[in-house]
């Protein structure tokens, strides 16, 4: 069913009794051309672009719970392409451009809102780093503006500019950045993929990989054996568990990242703001809640819940940035399991096993990458060669030394 003002008017007249399910909840067949493991944003986007642009429609997306129940539903919904490194920047800008046309492409309201992303700086050294990143962005054709203190004050008068320790000196602004409604992204991709014949199979957990020599030819699941010449992993924090079934060790650790939302208040924060003297990012949802987050807890975890010291640390950063949020009550907090790579950048590549494709290592930047990740992964699966903007996301870069360490932090996940 095509969604438009006319379908809405028609259904309004019919008492809204004619809406059909947005996508088909399929039962698995015994074989497919491509199996995508993981029914989050990345997996569903991969299936959609495979069907839409690469001419492969005999696809199943296998999800162990319900679609969007993992990190796709646990992030802080920020989209941006303010990256420094030439291996990263064109990829995230490609993603940004796909976000800009996403709703028309999917015929689904993903509530993409380009309300701006502002990274604050608090010292001369940070200003230099921001100017350098802004210049790198502009050289790649991405919009970036360096704001001084006055311009930031005009935009966000409520910040603690004269903080004794971390005075706000300005910020790097990407106006095209913003937020999108994370669940709607999942549902939009699911609906568009399902319309093109993709089977979305829920409550179907992969329990084993079927290998024939150095080839992966299918998977064992809780809903039976499913075979396919190409098996594609988009399972975020569970990547190491699944590759272990095929006998592979990964340059990944799974860590818990917490996110928070406050009670709803009237419109206050116009865009996304990040604190430069700690790790803290905040925006306001359309429902009015302040959505914010900070660092990962910093130890290996599959628990989808974190500990209180990190909650305290995040809230302290928030208080240092805008002390008035101390008057707000926190409504909810939750944890997601990040696939932290050892250099902080993702992997979209073949694995040493034929027929097994890998999309992982998104650390805590996976949501903004959803469209480009799906497109580039589909490109790799369909053509067996990397998409031009994702060439640097190689699995063997850790052995070869071509690391993509955006902040130069070193080979330890809890530093990124």
């Amino acid at each position: 069913m095509h969604y438009s003002i006319f379908s809405l008017a028609r259904q309004a007249l019919l008492g809204h009794r004619g809406w059909t399910a947005a996508w088909r909840d399929a039962s698995p067949k015994s074989s497919y051309d491509v199996l995508v493991i993981g029914g989050g944003g990345h997996g569903l986007a991969t299936a959609y672009y495979l069907a839409r642009h690469f001419g492969i429609a005999n696809i199943a997306v296998l999800e162990k719970g319900w679609i969007g129940s993992g990190n796709a539903g646990r992030n802080t919904t920020i989209i941006r392409s303010n990256y420094l490194l030439p291996g990263n920047n064109p990829f995230y800008e490609f993603s940004m451009q796909l976000w800009e046309g996403l709703e028309k492409d999917l015929n689904y309201n993903a509530m993409v809102s380009q309300r701006g992303v502002l990274n604050l700086f608090h010292s001369d050294a940070q200003r230099d780093a921001a100017a350098r990143r802004g210049n790198a962005m502009r050289l790649h054709g991405v919009d970036a503006e360096l704001l001084d203190r006055t311009a930031v004050r005009r935009m966000l008068p409520f910040l603690d500019f004269d903080n004794a320790r971390f005075p706000i000196e300005g910020g790097l602004l990407q106006r095209r950045g913003g937020t999108a409604r994370h669940d709607a992204v999942v549902w939009g991709y699911a609906r568009a993929a399902s319309d093109r014949g993709v089977d979305i199979v829920q409550n179907c957990e992969v329990t084993g990989m079927i290998r024939e020599g150095d080839r992966v030819v299918g998977v064992e699941t809780t809903r039976g054996t499913i075979r396919a010449p190409k098996v594609a992993l988009a399972v975020a924090g569970n990547t190491s568990r699944l590759t272990a079934m095929a006998g592979l060790r990964m340059p990944l650790e799974s860590h818990v990242l917490q996110a928070f939302v406050s009670e709803a208040i009237k419109p206050l924060i116009p865009g996304v703001v990040t604190f430069g003297a700690g790790h803290f990012y905040i925006s306001q949802s359309d429902k009015g809640g302040l959505v914010f987050g900070g660092d990962i807890d910093g130890y290996n975890s599959y628990a989808q819940r974190g500990n209180l010291p990190t909650v305290e640390d995040v809230c302290e950063s928030g208080m240092a940035l805008m002390p008035m949020i101390g008057r707000l009550r926190m409504l909810r907090s939750w944890g997601g399991i990040m696939d932290m790579s050892m250099d902080g950048s993702p992997i979209i590549d073949h694995t040493p096993l034929d027929g097994l494709y890998l999309n992982a290592g998104w650390c805590y930047g996976g949501f903004k990458a959803t469209p480009a990740s799906g497109w580039c992964f589909a490109h790799l699966i369909a053509r067996d060669e990397p998409h031009p903007v994702a060439r640097a996301f190689r699995l063997d870069r850790f052995a070869s030394g071509y690391l993509l360490d955006e902040k130069g932090q070193g080979a330890q996940p809890n530093l990124h």
């Binding site: 190491s240 060790r249 990964m250 290996n300 010291p309 850790f398």
Partner: protein, 89 residues
């Protein structure tokens, strides 16, 4: 989460710094395939969902390196010993 430090007793996790997997020893520099061994020790991880042996440093306490056995699904800690005991053994 509290870690039962063998010297200081049960202490809050915020006193500790985390290094990671304790099962990746530093390879010998003169090993025949030291390149591969260093790559594996620096980058590859089992990353188990369940029991995990890991190194924690009691930075705001006795400043000992500890080897902790912790369940990554529940955060339950079953064992904490001085890391040096294993190195000396």
């Amino acid at each position: 989460m509290r870690i039962p430090c063998p010297f200081c007793g049960n202490r809050d996790v915020s006193e500790f710094a985390y290094l990671g997997d304790a099962s990746a020893p530093r390879p010998a520099a003169d090993a025949p395939d030291a390149d591969r061994e260093f790559f594996e020790a620096a980058y590859l991880r089992d990353n188990p969902s369940g029991l995990h042996r890991e190194l924690w440093y009691h930075a705001s306490g006795c400043r000992s390196w500890l080897e902790v056995e912790r369940n990554t699904r529940t955060h339950d800690i079953t064992k904490a010993t001085f890391a040096r005991d294993r190195v000396r053994a």
